[in-house]
Symmetry: C2
Subunit: 328 residues, 2 copies
């Protein structure tokens, strides 16, 4: 079987470290597809990247066809089928969200362009590095100037989706595997809207099983949307394995399809569905057909509470777009 080419930026970091052995284990493209890995890092991290690659090699990954380590974007994205955009400038002391957006802007302009020029036309890129939605928008706009459409770029809200799934399961005393069809709307930020109005727990409506709307709109929502900080408080380090796991699932569902009757949450270019402003990157319930395409699930009814929360997270995304307007 012909190898797929998978590129990962920020590959020497903690999320990359958790991600790589699972890509070469077949967790994205299946157990029979060989993989060529292209690991992209900034120059100062190339030495650490070498250690990461050595250890990956020590897993004797049966599917690993070749590894390339590089700081050159066009080499790193060359012929890529799938791209994990993990690397991003982290928030420094005293930086506001707008500063963070502007610090990351040029990174994603450059990556969008390089992906458009060097990757396959069918490439699928997931943005993991924060602020993920607007980083994704910047990459889309940059790639579009070089002939690659915005459908090639999505941003990850699967981690929030998984967190919502787990919190529901815990409250119901059930395994996460029996919880389906939560929705994350909006931005991967505290304004996100974890919506359980269509979720099921063991085939029953989640709201009925939980029987506590105040909890769903209060503590549940707060726990899900501020979970990243809670993890840092408990570990002293930010989420890595759960972020890597979500990124693998996001890409695997996109490539191989969502199960019948199930959707996932993905931040994609808005076409105006559900009244979301067009031209922002915002999370929707999506189904993937398995041929590489995805569709926003249509026709779901939303309560007045969800509509109000959606508006707030969309407004935040409009402001983020405004802050980087000159880069678009």
């Amino acid at each position: 079987m012909k190898p797929v080419v998978v590129s990962v930026t920020g590959a020497a970091g903690n999320i990359g470290y958790a991600l790589l052995p699972r890509i070469t284990n077949g967790d994205v493209f299946g157990p029979d597809t060989p993989v060529i890995l292209k690991l992209v890092e900034i120059e100062p991290a190339l030495k650490a990247l070498e250690g990461t690659a050595m250890e990956l090699y020590d897993c004797a990954p049966p599917l690993l066809h070749d590894v390339v380590c590089t700081a050159d974007l066009e080499e790193g994205f060359g012929d890529a089928d799938a791209v994990f955009l993990v690397g991003a400038r982290p928030r420094g002391p005293g930086m506001e969200r707008a500063d963070l957006l502007r610090a990351n802007g040029p990174i994603f302009t450059g990556q969008g362009e390089a992906i458009a020029k060097a990757a396959k036309k069918s490439v699928k890129a997931v943005v993991v590095g924060n602020p993920a939605n607007t980083n994704c928008l910047i990459a889309q706009e940059s790639a579009a100037k070089h002939g690659l459409g915005p459908e090639a770029f999505t941003a990850m809200t699967r981690l929030d989706h998984n967190r919502a799934t787990s919190q529901l399961a815990a409250k119901a005393g059930a395994r996460p595997g029996v919880v389906n069809n939560v929705i994350i709307w909006g931005n991967h930020s505290p304004t996100m809207v974890p919506d359980t109005e269509h979720a099921t727990i063991g085939c029953q409506p989640a709201g009925k099983v939980i029987g506590d709307d105040a909890w769903l709109q209060g503590d549940f929502r707060k726990t899900v949307s501020t979970r990243g900080k809670a993890i840092i408080d408990a570990r002293g380090k930010s989420s890595a394995k759960s972020a890597a796991h979500a990124a693998l699932e996001h890409m695997s569902l996109w490539v191989r399809g969502t199960p019948a009757g199930n959707w996932t949450s993905m931040a994609v270019r808005s076409d105006g569905s559900y009244g979301a402003p067009e031209g922002i990157v915002t999370s929707f319930p999506c189904v993937c057909s398995g041929d590489g395409s995805y569709e926003i699930v249509q026709g779901l009814e939303t309560s007045a509470w969800v509509k109000e929360q959606q508006q707030a997270t969309w407004d935040e995304l409009l402001k983020e777009r405004e802050a980087v307007q000159d880069l678009l």
Copy 2:
């Protein structure tokens, strides 16, 4: 399906961090078997363990039935089907190997006893924490005093096996997946013997494909047996994902069986096969039937060079046993 109980010691450490999401992903017991995880740590690490467990939960692992975090050994090993003994006292400044053995001895005496008392009679325990072979021997002896036989405890040399496989593949310009049946003999230490005399690369004898005996007995052996240090030099941290990967493979092969015509390397109680001293824990080529039993592969011819190296690594293991004789 009834959940399996999997216990992991040192669960808050870096190997544990890499191991847990893959256990709940079905990488050991398969994609349909629910898992109850029992995470064991020393008291001071329980807070960090909580963070590890939170993040594991954020993966929304469909197979995760329950998680227990504890510093109590009998609770931690209660009803266990499989145990990963990852936690061990690391080597401190100025400690010799004998000091390290004696520092770890009481840990594995206690764990062997607790496993014998609390786990299922069919339990399978793999020792990952170093010095793994002699730690395993200590656990075996302690468990035997409480009615559990030594076949329940093996030590991990699969990481060395994988490293040897990868180095052969790289030299031959092949994918690791086409390299089979290397052997690691002896101790998980620089005296280990990576034996390629029965290995194949794409169904050809490895020695013929490589065509360089001096390399096999020189640089290859040195690279494999000192790889742990090379990883520390490159990463500034010891191997974690590759060790976790090897531990998963070790247990998965033990539980679900080795593929037809293939063996793995496992450190098990010596029955005198190949002239190894009886009653030490040393690595052999082993096949696993899939019913939970393993057998040392018999009747392989070994060259004079391998025999000489085997003797040296067995002598080291005899000395290690002597250093902890009073604990046995």
